[in-house]
Symmetry: C2
Subunit: 259 residues, 2 copies
DNA sequence: ATACAGCATTCTGAATTCAGAATTCAACCG
DNA sequence: CGGTTGAATTCTGAATTCAGAATGCTGTAT
């Protein structure tokens, strides 16, 4: 009898993905250092193949960017980018909180306070990793309460990026003060089943977080380079009008042939 | 002098990605047919390598799912999933439209009408591909006007999924009627610099689109299987407390060695 | 006749190899 | 002495090859 859906050993690609993401988050790989597939493969003890695929995924998730010359580099922490991220989070977190208040106030009541407690404990512990983890956990708890699994899915890559930014800021001192009060207020509105209040509080919370984070990181990272359109042309824009949907056109017909 | 950011020939992976996505969108590959890498490679005239990477991306974008046995299959079109998608789009498109009205009314005035015209032409042409493309183009135009490049980035994978759903519905007859009137209304609000009106209209538009799309597809695809948590465990949830950040652990130490 | 064991087939993940493009560096020409 | 051209180097994208796992088929024993 075959065991359905059980993956005891994550594929190498996934392991490489996680390993690289962790190292990036922890600030290895200096600001714009290029990532050499062969070096990474060497360092991780695998071949270039899974590394290449993991890099492809990391790029598609916005963690890496095409380097000007060749290859990939860590996407620089750009305050402007963080601002854009928070703008979206303001909308999405607002939606999540409103939905949570509408759909799962009971779950919020029974399981929410634990998150708050853990968050305050994390702040007391002064462990940066723990503070970030607690913050993420609380917000993903709300995403879960929303009843819309896509909210967590959409937000996940944003958090992998914000994680980096938060880490950067927190090591520069300046721990957050009121964020767990705000979290508690949001939770209270959810528990009381007040979607509008929950949404408003969530949006305000994101605004505060955004402002303080950007204020902290602005001086640290100059980023004088104007925002280059971040790679990856979109599927639709390649073909301005109608797309010649692959009705039969095969490519690579003239591959590698000298004239 | 090196030419910066010019990619005259998209990489094979991207071509394969697009080709497969088109075929999937057009409904080739029956409901739960497995995708054999070798067959696809053969059919496209490339090796398995780019196919494998394209499949990996398609999976990470939710178009494909792990098949029970081995390999991948097309993710079934799930009305519930579409509902969730539109819920997010309601928030994000609202944000985009409000921002557009605030930040780029002039661009909207100069370039917007062309999109409307093209959209109406597409409807007249009765070409499904063209209608979908025009719809996407209009919305991505709005995303562009918003001044927040992340909005397009976030929405892109959703659209690759919705494209399939729309195709499915459109081939079943039932062309949309009023959507270009609604688009025009949104555009007008943007041009006149009225963020609140633009946001409201955009949200209503998404609600209408959602309702009609779901109504059409509901009977077609039963999907009796309850919503399985769609793969890809998240980085944070793997480690409940503090994450054991890959501080030195290397893997594959015992790879392929018989006992 | 049915159930189980073992073997052949099929397909994927990963390693290795190959070819092309970009960068770099050095020699040559102005 | 500065600029340009050409070759060497480096690194990537893609093809090919290899090994392991799952599936399914066949033969045999009960």
């Amino acid at each position: 009898m075959p065991i359905r859906s059980l993956s005891p050993q994550p594929t190498l690609v996934e392991q490489v993905y996680e390993a690289l993401l962790s190292e990036i988050t922890e600030g290895k790989f200096g600001a714009e250092q290029r990532l050499i597939q062969e070096e990474l493969a060497e360092g991780l003890g695998v071949s270039r193949q899974p590394v290449q695929q993991a890099l492809l995924l990391l790029r598609s998730h916005g963690v890496l960017r095409d380097a000007p010359g060749r290859g990939l580099m860590v996407a620089p922490l750009d305050p402007e980018h963080v601002r854009d991220l928070y703008e979206i989070r303001r909308a999405v977190d607002g939606l999540a909180s409103a939905n949570a208040a509408e759909r799962s106030p009971d779950l919020a009541r029974s399981e929410g306070p634990a998150f708050i407690a853990r968050g305050r404990a994390a702040v007391r512990s002064k462990s940066i990793a723990r503070m970030i983890a607690a913050d993420m956990d609380f917000h993903f708890f709300l995403y879960g309460l929303s009843g819309n699994p896509l909210i967590a899915e959409v937000s996940e890559p944003h958090w992998t990026y914000l994680r980096r930014a938060m880490g950067e800021v927190l090591v520069h001192g300046n721990a957050p003060s009121g964020i767990w009060d705000e979290h508690e207020a949001i939770l209270a509105a959810v528990i009381e089943g007040q979607p509008q209040a929950a949404e408003r509080l969530a949006r305000e919370h994101v605004s505060h977080a955004s402002a303080s984070l950007i204020a902290e990181m602005a001086p640290a990272e100059p980023v004088q380079r104007r925002a280059v359109s971040r790679g990856r042309r979109t599927a639709h824009s390649d073909s301005p009008g109608v797309d010649a949907t692959a009705s039969g056109r095969r490519f690579s017909q003239g591959r590698r042939t000298k004239p």
